[in-house]
Every structure is written in C-alpha cells, then in structure tokens.
C-alpha cells in the first residue's frame, strides 16, 4: 500500500507537516523527512533525527519550588544529522525554489518500507533531471538509515557533484508558547571525536548530563558506471563527503548513503559497533536491504492485515496508522512508544499512559512480541516507580511517573502530571491485557505479577477508608480539565482492577508453586493479600441516583456546566485559551474519562448507566486530546449509537494524515493511531478479550462494503470479515478457539459464518 502526494507548491506549512507524515523510523531511530538539500533560509523546518530512549537531563526550574517537585526532566535528543545531501549539476545547484518543477511526488511505500521523493526538475540553465531519493530505516538492522539517491540526466551530459553532510552540532527545537513542546532550544549533545576513513565518517558524541554516548557512522557507495571520485573531510564537529560523478544524457548515476546510529544504551562499545554495523550494511547492499525490509513487512501485514472496502480514504488512514505504530514502537525492552513516536519533538519523546491504553491493544493482537517488550520496559523502570512513590510520600508500592523516558518524573506541573495516579493502574491493565491475549503465564511469573503487587500496594497506601468504603483522594483522572479530585471514577475502577488482579495472580502463582521466591523477594505476606481483597471489594464508585450515571468524581456534577456550543471555534483547544483554574471550575472535559472507564471496565455498570453517562459527557467533552474521539467511538458502538460511532471514528482515524489538530508538524499522535484501530476492532467488531475468553459483536457502517482484519489470539491467527449481512470468521492457523458472537458461544475450528445483527438508522 502506498501513500502519495504531489507537491508542486512548496507551501511551508505543508512541508513541515510532511516532514512528520513521511518520516522514517523503526522503533529505534526516527528521521524526519526533511529535504536533503534543505529549504531556503526563512523557511521553518524541524530537521531532526531521534533515537528512542536516548535522552539527556534538562533543567526544568519550578516557578515556585516545593518538596519533591521535578526540577529536571528527560528530553529526547535531536542527534547527528546525516540527511544532508547537496547536488550540483555542473555548476548549478539543485534547488526546487529555482528553475521549474515539472513533476514532484512524495510516496510512503508501506509494503516495502521506504519513502520516496520523485522529482523532475529543470534548472534555470535548462538542464533537466529526474531525481529519485529513497529513504529507509531498517526494521531488520535497527541502527541503519539509508538514503538511496539517484539522478538521471534527461537532456545533458556533465559532472554531478554531491556534498553529503554528517553534522554533529545539532540542537533540539522549541516553542515557549505551547505547553506541549519544550520551551527552550538547547544543546544537549556534544560532538567529541570526528574522524573520516576514505568515503566514510564517524562522529562520537556525548550527552551533556545523562552520561550517554552515541556514535554515528556514515558511508557512501557510488552507483554509477562512469568515472567518479569520493572523498571525506572532517572538521571540528562535523564531516562531509564530496562526490563527483560523470554523467551522460539519458543515463543514471547516484549513490547510497548509509548512516548507522549506535548508542551506549544498547551497545557496549558504540564506536566499534558503529563501524561494524556500517560495514555490514555496506557489504549487504541496497537490494538485499530492500528485500529483507519487504520480508519483515510482509509478515507484519500478514498479521496486522486490515481492509476497509467502500472507503479508500479511511482504509488508507488506518493502514497508515498501523504502519506508524510499527515505526514508533521500541523493538527491545529498553524503550517504549513516545507520544509522537520518533517523528518529532512534541512531548519531548516522553512515554505516557498512551502506550499501555492505546498502543499495546494493537500489538497484543498483531505483534505480541512488541507488547511484551513494552510491558517489559515498564518492569525495567519499576525501581524508579518505587522511588517515585516514596518521593510522593507513599510508604509502599510503585507509582509510575506520568511522563518519563528513563523512569524519573518529567512532568513540570504535578496537578496534571504526577497526580495522574491512574497510570499505574493503566500499566496493571496492560499487563493483564497482554496476558489475556497471549496467555503468556511465564511473563507474569517473571515480571508481571511483581509490578501488579507493587501497584496494588500503592493503591492501599494512597487510599483511605471512609464510611466503610475504600476511597482515593486528590488524584487527577485522564481528563486534565479537572485536577486533583476525590474518587475519580476511572481511577477508582483502575485501582479496583489492580487489586483484583494482585489477588488473582497471587492465587494463580501460588497454585503453580511460583509465588514463594517472588513473595520472599518483595516481602509480600498473605495479610497484604487480605488487605488487597478487602479494599478491592469496597472501592467506592461515585454514582448519581438522580441521573443514573457515574459522576467523573465526587464533586463533578455540582460544578457549572461549560457551554460548548457558545464557545467560539478559535477558543479550542481550551487549554491554550483559558486559565486552568477556570477550566477546573466547570464541568468540561478535555477527553474521555468516565467514558473510557465505561469501555475498559464496562462490566462495572449496566448498559443503561453507561448510556446515560455517555450522553452526559458527550455534551461537555471538547476532545481537545487526541485520545478521546476513538474511545467515544468504541462506547458509541457498544451502545449501538452507530452514527456517532462512525463520526468519532472518522475524526480519530484521519487526524494526522489530514492534520486535523493542526499540530502534526510536531509529530504523529501515536495513541490516537492505536485508538483508531481500537475503534474498529473493539468498536465496530465489538471485540472483547476477558478472563473468560474472546467475544465479538460486529456491525459495519452502511457506507462500507466490508471490513476485514486479522488478530492473533493466544497463538491462533483469526481473520474476521464483516459484511452488511454476515460476519465470516476464519481460523488462519493455530488451535481452535471458543468464541462468543453476539453473546452466543461458538467453536472456531475452521470457519464460521454468522448473520450480522444490527440495524443502523438510514
């Protein structure tokens, strides 16, 4: 599947958005799709190369400091820039802003895993060239970024000169006016050694405070039958390579620029590894690199297959989103998924609850190994979460930081940051969800149970008994337009879930003889389990008798209702136009909060209550967060509010490809991408995986002909095709499975065909 755009106009805004849209990443490195030759001066650009989990500490002074507040954050670094290539046709420099563009197209090939820039250009002196630049970050060789630069002389013969740059001195980007971006542009990475070896160059850099190292190696291989020269040069903080190739009319010439990035988080000797990885890549050559990339993606698409017939735009958007999730997710347990993946500097490369609640559900059912890595990453920072809990005054348990890279809190405003205790419950939920989908009991024994026990301990310490009920005060739920409240419905359910599974896993591990070593190690005693159980049963869940719905928190319904219909469009997102204190005083939601609880913990309430809640919160939710519309879509599907389900899904699915939030320039919205997939799988298909198995309740929008997708459930690959009249469930491979459809149990041996049971209003 290919996503292409023409770009005969060089609108700055579009250029910056497309740097994001066409970025190349593989979960380890991410390179924005900047023009190799750069834009003219005066154009905005976010030129960046990023490494997942590679960070520096940055000062984050509090305006008024209090005990325990974060005064330092981690920040993802913009690392060495290896994108630069300048091209000269004889003495004329290739520049799209001069001469004329005859044809220009940018393509993301999601089957083959590369992006391509195709240009036919006439120089001011009349030389015509066809330029094809392919870029690839290898899923098979994580350190590798390849630029395959090819030029065809259409009407002339001359020398081509290339200057290929390897720039060590780079800075992060900043915007002091947007709380979602870093406020200051700073130099975090300091180039140390720069050296060249014939056609190659190496730069070793160190971070300013975090003590990390990075080596970048760049080499060039000329693809041309004719005469050429290629020499590299070094200066203080960068290197460059000059290439001269003779070209004849009608011929092609060019070169491959291989870049490798090896950091000290993953490579014991990053200089040696850079040299080796670079040599291996050069020896392998582009054809084999393309082939293995395609092979990797063939497997991915075979597992993650999804097709919407009847709306190609949405079909494209969904597949684009899935591809981006694959590009964004860490491929080992040393990293997670940034809020913007590796596509930009928005949210500074931080990991939030997004990974657990919006991204892992996708990988659980398509590439469960990635999910396992992501939950394992949380285990790798469990000790930091324990320390964070102590810092916040808890005598026991683990409280994961709201935004982080290496585990420490990077949120500068604790009422909407550290106070979001639900992140620990979300992590518990993700562990259980991974376990449900994979059946990976070994992971629970090794890492999962320990995390859940520590999270349960946190809830016990954070909560308090009041009038016989277990209450949790002064936390912030998912909705950041209401902060530091008592008994946030979502948070309390999340705590209840964690406590339940702490007890459940304890009993499972005990039955299997796996509990002793762990209990000994973390000093877990049976009395604690009793306390978990007692609290779990008594968790207080706010409920309003009059309106028969769940208030977002104890006092939510007593506040003034915000009149969204009277709020001018330009005032959205509200957080950029209203003081937080003003927002907090109103019933107004940035995003799904109670509605999210009605999806994640749907069995806690009757359908009637969920319907009342949904309709209530719909009237006061701005969806200023990209994590919102998809959840509303899922719950609307559940409630058979089909039109709404479809509307919310569309808003969600196309967010980045059509820049609906007007900030795709800062990076893709990975959580929303997962959310859009969830809106299909959990929403339209009504999929649920619970302790007692898998179930479906499919419907399909009238405008579509069919919806087909595949999942991997406990080792069995299942394809589901929903058409207007029937749903066809095929067991592609693996063991047979019990499956409920519309509440009725079936055994999926080979294939099932079941009538679709819904009536969408015309």
């Amino acid at each position: 599947m290919k996503y292409s755009i023409n770009y005969l106009s060089l609108n700055n805004k579009d250029l910056v958005v497309n740097e994001t849209i066409f970025h190349n990443a593989n979960g380890y490195i991410g390179i924005r799709n900047n023009f190799e030759e750069a834009y003219p001066s005066g154009y905005n650009t976010v030129r960046g190369s990023y490494i997942n989990a590679f960070y520096d500490f940055a000062e984050m002074k509090q305006a008024e400091n209090f005990y325990g507040l974060a005064n330092e954050k981690q920040t993802m670094l913009n690392v060495a820039d290896t994108q630069g290539v300048k091209l000269f046709l004889g003495d004329e420099q290739f520049n799209l802003w001069k001469g004329s563009i005859i044809s220009a197209k940018r393509t993301l090939d999601m089957d083959c895993g590369f992006t391509e820039r195709y240009i036919v250009w006439r120089s001011p002196m009349g030389k015509e060239v066809e330029i094809i630049i392919r870029r690839l970050t290898s899923f098979v060789r994580l350190p590798l970024f390849l630029i395959d630069y090819s030029v065809k002389a259409l009407n002339f013969s001359d020398n081509l000169y290339f200057v290929s740059v390897h720039l060590g001195a780079v800075m992060n980007h900043a915007n002091p006016d947007d709380p979602r971006l870093a406020a200051e542009s700073a130099r975090y990475i300091i180039p140390g050694k720069v050296h060249v070896e014939e056609t190659a160059s190496f730069i070793t850099s160190s971070t300013s405070k975090s003590g990390l190292k990075l080596c970048t190696g760049v080499d060039h291989v000329i693809m041309s039958g004719g005469h050429f020269e290629c020499n590299s040069f070094a200066e203080k903080e960068s290197a460059w390579t000059e290439i001269k190739i003779g070209i004849k009319e009608g011929e092609k010439a060019g070169f491959c620029k291989y870049s490798v990035f090896t950091d000290s988080l993953r490579y014991a000797d990053c200089e040696k590894s850079a040299s080796e990885e670079l040599a291996k890549a050069v020896a392998t050559g582009p054809l084999e690199i393309y082939r293995e990339q395609k092979e990797y993606l063939d497997k991915f698409w075979d597992n993650a297959f999804l097709k919407i017939e009847g709306n190609e735009r949405l079909n494209m958007a969904l597949n684009y989103n899935m591809y981006q999730l694959l590009q964004s997710a860490g491929k080992e347990s040393k990293s997670s998924v940034g809020a913007k993946g590796l596509s930009g500097e928005g949210y500074e490369g931080h990991y939030f609850w997004d990974t657990e609640m919006y991204i892992e559900p996708f990988f659980n059912l398509t590439v469960p190994e990635i999910s396992k890595n992501l939950v394992s990453f949380r285990y790798s920072i469990l000790d930091e979460a324990r320390k964070n809990a102590r810092l916040l005054g808890h005598k026991q348990g683990a409280l994961f930081s709201w935004r982080t890279i290496m585990g420490k809190e990077s949120s500068g405003f604790f009422p909407a940051g550290s106070a979001q205790y639900h992140i620990s419950g979300d992590i518990a939920w993700s562990i259980v969800s991974y376990y449900f989908a994979s059946g990976d009991y070994g992971f629970i024994v090794e890492k999962g149970a320990e995390m859940i026990f520590e999270i349960a301990r946190l809830w016990i310490d954070a909560g308090t008994w009041y009038k016989g009920q277990f209450c949790i005060h002064c936390v912030t739920g998912p909705d950041e337009y209401t902060c530091m409240v008592n008994n946030n419905y979502y948070t309390n359910l999340s705590a209840k879930f964690s406590l339940y599974w702490a007890v459940r896993f304890y009993s499972l591990l005990k039955d299997s003889g796996d509990i002793e070593a762990l209990a000994e190690r973390i000093k877990l005693c049976p009395e604690e389990l009793e306390e978990f159980s007692r609290a779990e049963k008594a968790v207080y869940l706010p409920y309003d008798e009059n309106q028969k719905l769940n208030p977002q928190d104890d006092s939510f319904l007593s506040k003034k209702k915000w009149d969204l219909s009277a709020t001018p469009k330009e005032k959205f997102p509200l957080l950029l136009h209203y003081h937080p204190l003003h927002l907090y005083r109103y019933q107004v939601c940035k995003q799904a909060d109670t509605v999210l609880a009605h999806f994640i913990f749907e069995d806690a309430q009757s359908e009637e209550t969920i319907r009342n809640s949904f309709l209530y919160y719909e009237g006061i939710t701005t969806h200023d967060s990209s994590l919102s519309a998809c959840i509303f879509s899922i719950v609307a599907s559940k409630l058979k509010l089909y039109e709404k389900a479809y509307k919310y899904f569309g808003n969600s699915a196309m967010l980045d490809l059509y820049d609906l939030h007007n900030n795709t320039k800062d990076g893709i919205h990975t959580a929303n991408m997962g959310g859009a997939w969830m809106a299909i799988v959990y929403g339209f298909a009504g999929l649920r995986i619970k302790e007692d198995g898998i179930s479906l309740a499919p419907w399909i929008p009238q405008k579509w002909e069919s919806l087909c997708f595949r999942i991997n459930y406990r080792g069995s690959r299942i394809q589901l095709k929903i058409e207007k009249s029937r749903v066809t469930i095929v067991l592609l491979n693996g063991a047979e499975k019990e499956i409920k459809v519309y509440g009725k149990p079936y055994t999926l041996k080979d294939r099932l065909e079941i009538p679709v049971n819904y009536s969408e209003p015309a």
Copy 2:
C-alpha cells in the same frame, strides 16, 4: 523602651538574625543592620537596603506553562548600599574578629527610634577605642537614613581614617531550596550616573525592566573639634569618601553619614529631590533629627500604648512587634506592608492578605491614617485586580493577586497562589473593619464601596448555584496544605460577607445620595444588587451533623487524618519535607483556616460548634505558618480555654525576637506581629467592633499582674486596664461611647470599673 543584647561572641547565625532584629525602617526605606565594616569573608550575611513598593520584573518561567500562568513576578530590590564605613586607627583597621572585644552591645531604642552599636575594642597593637554607632531611618523625613558614627580614643592619640562607601552595584539575595525565598540571585538595578560633590556622592540607578529610577545621595558631616579632611571619589558604579580626623587620647571624634533614597514612584525628579532632601537633612543636623523622631514616636506610643505587668519578656516582645509594624507599614497609599516588612528579602517584598487580616486591625485602632493608606493602596491596584479576574476567566469583578507589589500576580504556583480567592474577601473585610473602627464614611464613598462592589461581582461570577445553594468551587482557603477545594468554609463566609456589605453599602450610599455617580461609572444596576442579596442569603456553609462542626471544605473530613504526634520534629515545617500532593491528601493544616473563620465571622455559628471545630482542628494543625498561633489564641480566649490561649499567644508573640521559626534571618514576620497584638486585644480583652458597636470580654493570664492598652475608636481614645479582679476603662479623650462588657451595655463617659469575670484553671 529599649531592647538590648550583648554580642561578645560573633556567631554567624546570630549575626544574620540580628541584621533583621535591629533593622531600621520607616515604611518607605528599610536597612538591615549589617556591620558598617562588614564581616570577614566566608561569613554569611544578607546585606540589604530596600524601598517599599520599589520593584523590578523578574522572569519566573513555569516548568510547564499554561494559559494565564504568571511568567514574570515583581521583586523588591536590594538598592544602593550606603551602610559601608571602614575605620582605621592609624594603620590598624577596626575589625571585631581581631584584637579583643571588651564590651559590645546592640540596642534598639523604641522610644527614640534609633539603633545603637556600642563597642569597646582593643586593637592587636593595644589601642583602645569606644565606638558608638547610631542608625536611624526617619519617620519624619522618609527618604533619610542616618549613621551617626562616634569614636573615643581611650588610650592613644593618632589619626582616624574612615572610608565611607556608597555602593551602586548590588544584587538581591537568594536561596534556591526554599520556596519562600527568591530562587535566583540577580542584578536588577543598574547604576547609571555616579557623581561626587566634595563630601557628597550621588548615584542614579534604573531597574532592568520595570522602568523605575532611584537616586541615592550620601553626605558626610564631621563631628570633631580637631583637624580633618574629607573627600569623595567616584568610580563606575560606586563612590566613596575618605575622611581623616586627628584625635587625642580621651577625646571623641566622628561624623554623620546622611543617606537619602528618592525613587521615581514618589518623586517626579528623583535626582533633584535627592539633592534637596540631602541638603535639608544636613542643614537640620542630628540633634533636631533625633528630636523630631522622638516626637513622632511619643505620639505613636501614646496611641499604641500597651503594657503587660508581670512578664517583662512578653511585654518587650509585644512592644517590639508594634514598633516593627510601624517600621514596616507604607506611609502613603503607594505601598503596603511586605510579609517581611522592609527587613529582609523573604517573600521578595510581596504583599499578601497579611496586611488586611493581621496588620490593619492593629492600625485601625492605633494609627487609623495608616490603615486608610493601606486600604487606599488596594484601591490603587483595583484595575489590576479587574484585569487579573479577566485573566482567570471571570466576566466581571475584581480578583486581587495573591502576592504582588504593583498589582499583577507574582505567585508561581497558582493552586496555592491565585486560587486563594479569599484575598478579595479579606480586602472587603478590611474595608468594613476600617469603616467600623473609624466611621470614615467618606472613604467608603470615594474608594471602599467600589472595591466591595467589584469583589461582590467576582463572587457572583466565581460561584454557582447547586441545589438551591450558592457554592464556590475550586479555590484554596487560607490553609495551604489543602488546595483547590470546593466550598472552603472560610472562603464561602468571606464571600457572604462581601456580598452582604455590597448590598449594605449600596443602600447606605443610596440613602445619602452618593450612589449615582459610582453606579454610573462602574455600570452597577439594581438587578445586580438583587443577585448579590440572593446569593448572600444562599451561600452554602459546610457543616457536619455528626461531629457538629464546620468541615474546612466539602471533602475535608473524608480524608485521612495526619498523625502529628507521630511526625518527627525535624519534619516540620511539613512543606519542606513532604510533596504537596501528599499533604493535600490528608487532614492536616498549615494554619488556622476554619478556626480563623470562627474568629472573623464568629456570628455564623453557635459557640458549641466553634468549640467543636477548634478542638478538632487543633489536633491537625501544624502552625507551620506564622499566621496561625495568634488566631488559635484568640478563639481559645473566646472559648475560655485560657491555658491554650496563653500558650498560643506566647508562641506567636516571641516568634521573631527569639527566632522560633528559625528564619528570622530572612526578615520579620509582620503578620504574626499584628496577630500577637490581636491575641491580646481580640483575645485577652475580647474586643469586638461590629456594626452595632464595640464590646469587650476581658480576662488576664494568672501570671500577669495587669494588662493595659489603648485604642482609638471612632475618634475617641480609650484605655483599658485589666487586672485580676477588675477592668478599668478610661476615656482619654473624645466623645463618650456606648460599650458592652461581658454582653452588658455601658456608657463610657469618663471611666468605668467592672469586675473581671473569669476563672482560669490554676
């Protein structure tokens, strides 16, 4: 009355505390009592000269920025240092750390209004001198700071050399680890012109951002019969004067150093004014300056007279406190009273609610003109309060900034800053209190009513109707260990009070024909008044039926109780040892909150409820704020809990003089000083001034023989003397007054003698 200490030991900690304790101020300028000759290097000092309301803007970057948050604060400036005098006896420099101290005493003479340093010192070479250095900031000539430096040669004849410094290049002090201090040391004031004229020097400085100017002028007059030379020199940012005086054994010699500070907030041409003020002071001479200072203070003490017989330590502390209040309070309507007065840089010279609730009560009854200035100051920033309300999202009304100098918010953490809406209610209360005490109806017409109408409008906009009651969500009450709550009892009562008085003043002004111009100017219509009235009657006041007390806010009683007895001493103040989020989750109070309401708005509840509340909050209040103990004392007096009343009073009264909070080095605690006075007048004497008049309910601690003090009530000066068996009330001058004692009405014509009606447990 004199407060003296010996200082034969030169302990650094004591030295820094005494810089505060003995500082000189007059409400306009404040000079810390640093040694003229400085300490040796390596000693800590906060060397400072301050001007009330003279500020610069300082960057205050938010760690995570949101709409409307303050990114800039005002900060009081450390201005030109004119304290410096170095003394040489021949070629030996006077230095208390060398040679030997035979005698050394520091004295604050509160009757005469100067401080004195008395030293008998023997130099390493054996020269003995008696040095007397008197310092005075004139209450009569506000720009004037005088150093009267006298040396007696006890056993030698030689030349004395003085180097008197006038230093333009000064910085503010800082401590990044204490939220109550500025976090960064910065250069805010930039010396421009420096010039000398014979024995005098002038430095004109400008602030870096606020556009203010300051001129400091220094002149020297030699007091000696013998030969002398005196010459001034200028360099880039400072000036100095060299003085040589011949002295004979047994003789005295010395000089007066006159400094004047004229700023552009008060003086149109500050250079010209500096020159004039300096010339006038020099022409007046020290004797007349001492005389007029004494005259000013005679009048002050005549009005503010207070004497405790039976505890000289407390008597001293109380009188010291009153003197400091006089030193601290702005003497025109361009300034107020900093939380640390003009004695140090703690809280950066900011004005808080302290002025209205803890300091004006003292001035209302002793120097009402000062109170009038202070409430007028708030009127001068009313427009900024209107703007602040808009910034916080309010369509109408005025919300005063929580901490400020020129009106804009300087609080960096809005949950414990801007969210303290009660400050607007406090200002309303102070206006009404001033009106009650003075009967100054003219002020209400001119300024008071407008402020109260705008404050009432704010409450209407901030509040909301819920189940027939008027509620106020998401504010922070006085207790900063609980933030952003619903229906803080104190705040709601404060709103009720403002609304009541908006209606009341409207009607008063209407009856007198004074409303029209004002109503026209601020577009106040009768419908608004109806709304005020409706809301006032329906203000919701949380009350717990079970425990028969007022919860601090809606959810306070449902939180865990903090176990203060189990908290180690070194963990206080809690704010320096626990994360705010942890504190917020507990029933634990930094200070009186509901208990303050039970004093200020005592008629809202029965004595039984107040007693229950008092005992309840007593168990969970840390008194980490210096504004707390005095209020507990007052309410304990009201409840006849005499032992407690006395204990809380003592903690409050002696705070600074005995450095009980271990931070007097950063400045005096002005609010606490007013509070200690209130604990006597409102507590022990049971004084109340309400709309229906003045009343008393005196008692006296068993350990005291008598308590005597004077007040000024609506033009009549009244002296009250409480002895164990009787209270004697004398009308010193002015019209006769109706007065209630123990609930019984009397007419005070000349003198009343009434038996004291209380029984303190032995």
